[in-house]
């Protein structure tokens, strides 16, 4: 019998389960992504909010354990409009990419930091924060990239153009679509030097990286809200 008391977690997805219960996917700091049942929770679900750091308790013998208690350890956070879209996109990423019950504390902390940041940043900053979170998630899952070296191991040259190739990395090419300068900005984490055009390039790069991992099924939130 597993019994865990008040462990840090974020609710990343919920769906109805039987008549009055909910099936909840949590991203916990210490146990990774887990799925729990909250019995009879449908009539009392107001304090179980997404995008809010919670402490949850759960127990059970079988694979599907029961949520026994929860409390919020965060201030109320409400996303509207585009911020909401960014936040649900991030949840879909976590839901699709995180393996069950595998601890990823850096991703957890990065996710929390990201949620706090969205509320305060400008549109361009938000977009860059999302790219950084995607980079962190990919790196923690074993798909990290070195932004300061090309596929042969030579340092990235800010004057050259590169192309991203799966399994290889950045390959210097005359007609490459990624300026070396952009890669070095990411490497130095110096977003002051990023332009709108650079952000679009990084978005394309991460989309390509994610596509190879996600497989055929596209991300639905992107389909819904990011037409381009």
């Amino acid at each position: 019998m597993t019994k865990i008391e008040l462990t840090p977690a974020f609710l990343i997805h919920r769906r109805m389960y039987q008549d009055s219960s909910l099936l909840l996917d949590f991203f916990t700091r210490n146990y990774g992504k887990i799925r729990l049942v909250a019995r009879g929770a449908r009539s009392n679900k107001t304090s179980l909010q997404m995008f809010q750091r919670l402490n949850i308790s759960f127990k059970g013998r079988s694979e599907l354990k029961n949520l026994t208690n929860w409390e919020s350890s965060d201030q109320p956070r409400r996303f509207l409009g585009n911020d909401l879209v960014l936040a649900i996109y991030t949840n879909e990423l976590l839901s699709r990419l995180l393996p069950e019950a595998e601890k990823h504390q850096k991703v957890f902390d990065g996710y929390w930091h990201y949620l706090i940041m969205i509320n305060e940043q400008s549109d361009a900053e938000k977009e860059y924060s999302l790219r950084l979170f995607e980079n962190l998630l990919l790196e923690e899952l074993g798909y990290g990239l070195e932004f300061n070296k090309d596929s042969t191991g030579s340092p990235i040259d800010s004057e050259l153009e590169y192309q991203f190739q799966e399994h290889e990395g950045f390959v210097a090419k005359v007609d490459g679509n990624i300026p070396g300068e952009v890669l070095l900005v990411v490497n130095d984490d110096d977003n002051d030097r990023l332009s709108v055009g650079h952000l679009a390039i990084l978005k394309k790069l991460n989309r390509k990286r994610l596509r190879s991992i996600l497989g055929e099924r596209p991300l639905k939130s992107r389909e819904l809200f990011f037409a381009n």
Partner: protein, 197 residues
């Protein structure tokens, strides 16, 4: 035969095999006529009730009684998640516009997108009808907000004004027993007191 009926009853929400057995024995031993009436009513309803061609709520006729009612204000369109939401709003008696019923809410993770909810039909409705205000009455959940945001984008395309129903402290409710999210929401959505006096 009884076993088959038992399984059929178990399809109802909240009914397990034991309750199903109670229903069956009650009908067989005490109320055969009631059982026959139930069967007849059930068959008739299942065969005849369809979705309203305009607002998609459940209706016996092609157009539901609300859509067919010319006295209602067709410039207002209230978007709800389920037919029972219409019932709830109608009972309040303060709304006299039309409705549109989605089949639930957008849930990207479950793969439920715009087409699954009938949002294409909503869009074609906006194209042909003169709607001047869309009232977003999806639930106050994250999924409901996501759905509202999507419809807002859709309405913007047709330059239709969008409003969202207010969320906050329930009438008769006490602050002390209200959860912090609702309080935060109620405070940020506060209104000038002038409108009450």
């Amino acid at each position: 035969m009884i076993e088959k009926l038992n399984k059929a009853f178990c399809k109802l929400p909240g009914v397990g095999s034991k309750s199903a057995q109670r229903f069956i024995y009650h009908l067989l031993e005490r109320d055969r006529q009631g059982g026959l009436d139930l069967a007849k009513a059930l068959t008739e309803t299942m065969e005849k009730v369809k979705n309203c061609a305009r607002c998609r709520t459940l209706s016996e006729k092609t157009l539901c009684s609300i859509c067919a009612n010319n006295a209602r204000d067709s410039s207002q369109l209230c978007v709800v998640e389920t037919p029972t939401d219409i019932h709830a709003i109608e009972q309040s008696g303060v709304y006299s516009g039309n409705y549109f019923v989605l089949s639930g809410y957008l849930s990207p993770i479950d793969g439920i997108g715009a087409a699954e909810l009938g949002l294409d039909e909503l869009e074609s409705l906006l194209k042909i009808e003169e709607v001047s205000e869309i009232i977003l009455a999806t639930n106050a959940t994250i999924e409901g907000e996501v759905t509202a945001h999507y419809i807002y984008n859709l309405a913007k395309k047709y330059q239709i004004r969008t409003t969202r129903i207010a969320h906050g402290i329930p009438l008769g409710g006490e602050l002390e027993y209200t959860d912090i999210n609702t309080i935060a929401h109620a405070l940020s959505g506060r209104k000038s007191y002038d409108i009450y006096s």
